[in-house]
Symmetry: C2
Subunit: 505 residues, 2 copies
C-alpha cells in the first residue's frame, strides 16, 4: 500500500466517524426518545474523542509526510495534492491544542449551554456571566496555542480560521465594516417609508399538515438527487449530511406564519444542494465539505433569498400556496407576496431579522467578539456594549437580556468566530449570483418556469463539486474572477429596496 | 486512576461504539434515504473495526489483569467481579481470531447476503451454493481458532457459544432432541382435528393507520419506561437498544391480516422490556445485555405467546380491537379470538409457523448445522437433507428452494449457531412463566385487568436487572432454581392443545 493509499484509508475512517457523529446528532434532535439523552451525550463524546485521537495521531503525520513526497509534482488542484495540503493543515492545527484543553473546552461549553437555557429564560445576564467568562478564558487559551502559526497575526485569527480558513481578523473587519456602513444609511432611508410594506398576507391560520405538504413539495421541486434526502420537523432547523447521498433537512412550522416553514426549508435545502453536489472522488475525505461556513451559508442564502424571495420563484410558488391554502392566498397578488417576502424592519432578534438589518446584528456581534479577544472589552461589559450598539445600529431599546445579549446559543456553546460567516455568506452569495446571472443569461426565465437545474449545474460545475479543495479566498477568485467584495451585495440590496420602498436607487 | 476505573472507561468506549453502530443500523432500516446505502456500509464497517481493535487491544488485556487483581475477593455477583469475568472471556475469545479472518468472514457474508436475495427470488439453491460453501468454510476456520479453549469439545461449540455462552453442542442436541420428540406426537394428534380451529377472524381488511394506532396502543400499555422507546414501521421487524433508555421497536403491517402487527409488536416490545430493565450500574458495559440470545428470545416469546396469546390478555385486547375495527370484531367472541391466536398447523415457512411446529423448524436447522460442522453433511447435500426432514417432521413437500432451504437469511449472513436460541428461548420462557405464576399467585387476574407491572417487576428483580452478569446456565438456576428443562414447555404446549383441540392432556 502506498503512503497515499494509507493516508486515504486513515482519512476515510476519520470521515466515517464524523458521519456517524452527524447521524447521532440528527437523531437526537429529531427522533430520539427523550430518556436517551444522557447516554447519547456519552456516545457523541466517545465518537468525537476517537475521531480526534486519530486526527492528531503520529501515524497520520507519517502518512502525510509519505504521501506528500509521493504527490510532489501533482497539479495544485488535483485530488491527491489537495488532500495532502488540506489534511496537513487540519492535522497541524489539531496538534497545536493539548487534549486536556480541548476536553475542558467541550465540557465547559456543554455545561454553559445547559445553564444558558435557564438564564435566558430568566433574562439574567449576570447569572450567566461566570459561564461566559469561563468559555472566553478557555478560548483565549485556545487561541494562544497558535502562537507563530503561519498566517495568524491577531488573537482572534485562530478562532475565525476554524470556520473561515485563511481569512483574517483584519479582512473580516474591513468587509463587515464596509457592509455595516453601506447598510446603515439604507435602513435609515427606509425608516419613514416602512409602513408602506407589511407581511400580513403571510400571517393567518396555516394547518400544520398543509404546511408540511408545502415544505415537501418545495424540497422535492429543488434539484436534489432523488432518494438522497429526507425532511423532518425539529425545534431549531438545520441541515446535516451523513454523506453527500444522505442529507437530512429539518424545519419547523409556525401555525400562525407561513414564512417560517417556507424560507427556512429553502435555506436548509440550499445547504443540502451544496453537500449533494460534492464530487464523488472527494467523498469520505476531509475535502468532502464546502471550503468554509461562509461558503456553506452563501448557498443556503442564495437559494433562500436570491432564488426563494425573488419575483420569478414567488410567481411559481403562488399557485401552490393557493392550492394548499385557498382562502388565504386566492386574494393575494404576486406583487403583494413579493413585497411581504422582502419587507425590511429593524427588530431585536437576529434569527427573525430581515435580509438587510440581519447584517447589522452580525456586525455588532463580531465587533464585540474581536474587542473581547483583543482585551478591549471584558465579558462583564458585554450587556451594556450590546445594548448601546443595538440602539446605535437599529435604533431600538433592548427591554431585557433574553431579547438582547443572551439570545444566541453561540457564545454559550463556545463558538466564537462563527457569527462572521453569516454575513460573509451574504456577500459571497451576491457575487456568485451576479456571475451566474451573467453566464446563464436567462436565469430569471428559468426560475419562473420552475427550472432550477440550470442554476444548480452552474453552481456544481464551478463550486459544489470542488468541496474544500480550495481555501475560501482561492475559491471566490476561481469562481467569480475577483476577491471577496461587498459592492455587489450592497448594490443588490439597494436595488431591491429601491423597487419596494422607493428609496433612491 | 485505578486499573478497574481504566477498565470501565475502556469498556464504556467499546459500549458507546456498539450503541452508535446500533443506531446507524436502525436508521438504515427505518429512516435512511436509499441513496445513502453505499457510504452507510462503510460507516458501519469503520465502527465495527474500531470497536474490534479496542476490544482485542493489549491495553485492554493489561487493564483486565490489573483490575482482576484489584477485585480479588469481591463477591462473584458483584458488578466489578462480573465485569472482569465477562469482559475477560470476551477479550480472550476475540483475541483468538486473526483480524484478516474476521474481515474475510464479514466480507463474504455481506457478499453472500446480497447474492441470497436474488437466488432466493429465483429459488435457485445450486446458484447460491458457492456462496454458502464459502461461508461454511470460513466458519469452520473460525471454529478452528478455538482449539483448546476451555469448555469447547465439539467443532460446533464455538459457533453456539457466540450466541449462547457456555452452552455446548451436546446440551443443545439433548434439549432440542427432547423437544422435537415431545412436539412431534402432539402435532400428529392435532392433525385430524386441525379443521376445528381457524384464524378467519384475524383476516380481512385492516386499514394501515388503524393498525398503527393499535400497535402504538399496545406498546404504550406495556410497562416500558416512559419516553424511552419509539415505534417505526420496517420490512423485517426487530428491536434494538441504542441504550436501555433509548429502545427502537419496529414492526410491519399486513393489510389483510391483523396478527402480524399485533403479535410482532408484542414480541419486539418483549425484547425492549428486557433491555429497558437492565440495572443502571451496568449501563455502558459489556454486562448491559441479556446473558444470551436465548434469554433475550425467552422474553420476546414470553410477552408475545404467554402473555399476548393468553386468555386474560386477549380479553383485555378484544374491546380495543372492536374500537379500532368495529365491523370486523364486533361479532367476534373472546373464545374465537383465543382459538385463532393459538391455531396449530404445519407450514413451510419458519417465520409464519405456529408456536408448536416452530420448534420443528428450529430442530431441523440445528441438526443440519451440527452435521455440517461435524463433517457428516456437505453443503451440496443441504437441499435434499432439508426437504427430507420437512417431510419427516411436518409431513409437507417443499415445492421450491425459496420455501425451503433458501428461506432464511441466517446462513447467507454466516450466522451459524443462531437458530438454536429460538427454541431455547421457548423452553426458558416456559420455565420462567411457571415460576412467575407460582410466585405472583394472581398473575392471570392481573393481566386480565391490564396490569402488567407486577409481572414486569418480578422479571426485573430476578432477571432483567442482572444483564449478563451470569452465564445462561447460572441465570436459569438462580431464577427458577433448576437447570434448563424442556418438561414445563412441553406440558404447557400440551395443556393449551388439549384445551383448544381436545387432544389427550
Amino acid at each position: 500500500m502506498s503512503k497515499l493509499e494509507e493516508l486515504r484509508a486513515r482519512l476515510a475512517e476519520i470521515s466515517d466517524l464524523g458521519g456517524a457523529r452527524a447521524l447521532l446528532d440528527w437523531d437526537q434532535r429529531t427522533q430520539m426518545p427523550p430518556a436517551g439523552a444522557e447516554i447519547r451525550a456519552e456516545q457523541l463524546a466517545t465518537l468525537a474523542r476517537i475521531r480526534h485521537e486519530r486526527l492528531v495521531s503520529d501515524g497520520l503525520g507519517a502518512a502525510l509526510d509519505g504521501a506528500a513526497a509521493e504527490v510532489e509534482g501533482s497539479p495544485y488542484e488535483s485530488v491527491e495534492a489537495s488532500l495532502v495540503r488540506v489534511a496537513r493543515r487540519e492535522w497541524e492545527k489539531a496538534r497545536r491544542v493539548p487534549t486536556e484543553l480541548r476536553a475542558e473546552i467541550t465540557r465547559a461549553a456543554s455545561i454553559a449551554e445547559q445553564a444558558w437555557v435557564g438564564f435566558r429564560e430568566r433574562a439574567d445576564f449576570d447569572g450567566f456571566l461566570p459561564y461566559l467568562e469561563r468559555n472566553i478564558e478557555l478560548r483565549r487559551r485556545y487561541a494562544d496555542c497558535f502562537d507563530g502559526f503561519p498566517g495568524f497575526a491577531h488573537p482572534y485569527d485562530p478562532l475565525l480560521d476554524d470556520f473561515e480558513p485563511g481569512v483574517t481578523t483584519s479582512e473580516v473587519r474591513s468587509i463587515l465594516g464596509e457592509l455595516r456602513d453601506g447598510v446603515r444609511p439604507l435602513v435609515a432611508e427606509i425608516g419613514p417609508r416602512s409602513a408602506s410594506v407589511d407581511d400580513a398576507c403571510l400571517r393567518g391560520d396555516f394547518p400544520l399538515d398543509a404546511q408540511e405538504a408545502l415544505a415537501r413539495e418545495i424540497v422535492a421541486s429543488l434539484p436534489l438527487e432523488r432518494d438522497a434526502w429526507r425532511l423532518d420537523p425539529t425545534v431549531h432547523p438545520f441541515a446535516t449530511a451523513i454523506s453527500p447521498a444522505d442529507i437530512r433537512i429539518t424545519t419547523r412550522f409556525d401555525p400562525g406564519y407561513i414564512g417560517t416553514a417556507l424560507w427556512s426549508v429553502i435555506h436548509e435545502a440550499g445547504h443540502a444542494l451544496y453537500e449533494n453536489g460534492i464530487a464523488r472522488e472527494l467523498w469520505r475525505s476531509p475535502l468532502c465539505s464546502p471550503p468554509s461556513l461562509g461558503f456553506h451559508e452563501s448557498q443556503s442564502r442564495l437559494w433562500e433569498n436570491w432564488v426563494g424571495r425573488g419575483r420569478p420563484y414567488l410567481g411559481w410558488l403562488l399557485p401552490r400556496l393557493r392550492g394548499l391554502f385557498p382562502e388565504r392566498f386566492r386574494p393575494v397578488e404576486a406583487e403583494e407576496l413579493y413585497r411581504a417576502a422582502n419587507r425590511i424592519a429593524p427588530s431585536l432578534i437576529r434569527v427573525e431579522a430581515d435580509q438587510v438589518t440581519y447584517n447589522l446584528h452580525v456586525a455588532l456581534r463580531v465587533e464585540l467578539e474581536v474587542e473581547l479577544f483583543e482585551g478591549a472589552l471584558e465579558p462583564a461589559e458585554l450587556r451594556d456594549a450590546w445594548n448601546a450598539r443595538i440602539s446605535g445600529y437599529l435604533g431600538l431599546d433592548v427591554p431585557d437580556d433574553a431579547s438582547g445579549v443572551l439570545q444566541d446559543v453561540h457564545w454559550a456553546g463556545g463558538a466564537f468566530g462563527y457569527f462572521a460567516t453569516y454575513s460573509l455568506g451574504n456577500v459571497i452569495a451576491a457575487q456568485i449570483w451576479e456571475a451566474a446571472a451573467a453566464d446563464l443569461g436567462d436565469l430569471e426565465e428559468q426560475i419562473a418556469a420552475g427550472e432550477l437545474v440550470g442554476l444548480r449545474d452552474w453552481l456544481r460545475e464551478g463550486l459544489y463539486r470542488h468541496g474544500s479543495k480550495f481555501m475560501p479566498k482561492e475559491m471566490i477568485q476561481r469562481l467569480v474572477g475577483a476577491p471577496i467584495d461587498v459592492a455587489p451585495y450592497l448594490r443588490q440590496l439597494r436595488d431591491r429596496a429601491a423597487e419596494i420602498y422607493g428609496v433612491p436607487g
